[in-house]
Symmetry: C2
Subunit: 217 residues, 2 copies
DNA sequence: TGTACATCAGTGAACGCGCGTTCACTGATGTAC
DNA sequence: TGTACATCAGTGAACGCGCGTTCACTGATGTAC
């Protein structure tokens, strides 16, 4: 832990106001998207003048970065807690889906259309790889496949991103398909591409998950 | 064909200017994203005054709608042409990928984070279903699976979206997995989520495609 | 072929807006003796 | 416990900006007789 938790009244107050700012920011993002985020609008909502927010965030970009960080942290923590209480890969999949449905714009802030020119700071990529690790653990815990796919063999030679993880090549492969397939269903669902098709996205998600867990020849 | 092709000099000129406007708009979107689109900026680039553009588009939203339409039309046409010249499902997959890589922001305009509050007009959903039909055709042309999956059975009861298509339930299922899986890989690739992982997204795409085409038990 | 009129592309000024951000300031809260 | 000082949250005015959009207009292009 960093020097976060000092507890003078002033610091508690600061933390509280910061929290309210981000809360309002999330509301704004949920209704109008990330590009519509406005410091002045948030200040007005809180009954403060615009410049007051500069006591709490150095700039608009700073606020956005904090929101991105919160989103990553929230997902990482949610998955971590679920895994710690015994959820397997299928369990994590549903946790992921629930997390995404709770706040679609939050999901899109992490996995959606990138904001051109925006680069996440290093600590965020660290949280991102924590998420990956949790999922990789769950993949590695599954019964291993009998054969090694050609792509898994390729991954074995390009596992820099999982260099410090003991997962077998097949588990790496499974992690990638888990990630991309569920994201595929989820993002199209959240973007509304299934509306009007009269099919239940939850069932498609479930079908994909089942296929993912079925052992391969 | 509608009354598009009248050919008075004035109409040709109008079409030409409209085309240049959308061309500049695409450039702007490619570098700064859709939310940064500005009529005034486009006018300045063209050496015109801002209000001049209102001769060609009723509003900014009108321009965006036209861009969305162009994107859908481009993809629909690209797939249609490929299918007409004999591409099978695997071929269409690569056509799709190439189309996406050509202009990531164009892909995201169609399949990325939705613009909150924006609703596409009816003619766009028509083009969207033309895309689906092309892909569905290719799915139906594959050798049928031996068994019917539970999800395919479910789809058979909820095929409103493909009511006028003779595809077998398994083909519907295949179409959906084709769409969501390839979108999953593509959108994460285009959003840069594989950068730093030192793996070639093309191989992941190829592996997913191969799995998609392999017959099921 | 020439003239009278209608059409229409583009201009420049203007409106109102909300944005991010800076700055000098007031007033309340906390700290040190 | 009381006083002197430092810290810091929040204000209001101001800056400059670019946005979408309207309006009355000029001037060129096309049309009708």
């Amino acid at each position: 832990m960093a020097t976060t938790g000092t507890n003078t009244p002033r610091e508690r107050y600061r933390a509280q106001v910061r929290a309210e700012i981000t809360k309002r920011a999330w509301e704004q993002i949920a209704t109008a998207g990330a590009s519509a985020l406005s410091l002045n609008a948030i200040a007005k909502q809180m009954g403060m003048s615009g410049p007051a927010l500069y006591r709490y965030f150095a700039s608009r970009d700073d606020l956005i970065t904090e929101l991105v960080r919160e989103a990553y942290r929230s997902l990482a923590e949610t998955l971590r807690v679920a895994a710690a209480s015994g959820a397997d890969l299928a369990g994590l999949a549903h946790v992921l889906r629930d997390w995404a449905l709770t706040d679609p714009q939050r999901y899109f802030l992490v996995y959606g259309t990138p904001i051109p020119g925006y680069h996440a700071p290093a600590d965020i990529t660290a949280i991102s790889s924590e998420i990956m690790t949790t999922l990789l653990d769950a993949c590695a815990a599954l019964a291993p496949d009998s054969a090694t796919s050609p792509f898994a063999a390729y991954l074995e030679d390009h596992r820099d991103w999982a260099a410090d993880h003991p997962a077998a090549p097949e588990a790496l492969h499974r992690f990638l398909t888990f990630w991309t397939r569920l994201h595929g269903v989820l993002s199209l669902e959240l973007a509304g591409h299934f509306t009007g098709m009269h099919l239940d996205p939850a069932r498609l998600f479930a079908a994909e998950l089942e296929d993912l867990l079925a052992p391969r020849a």
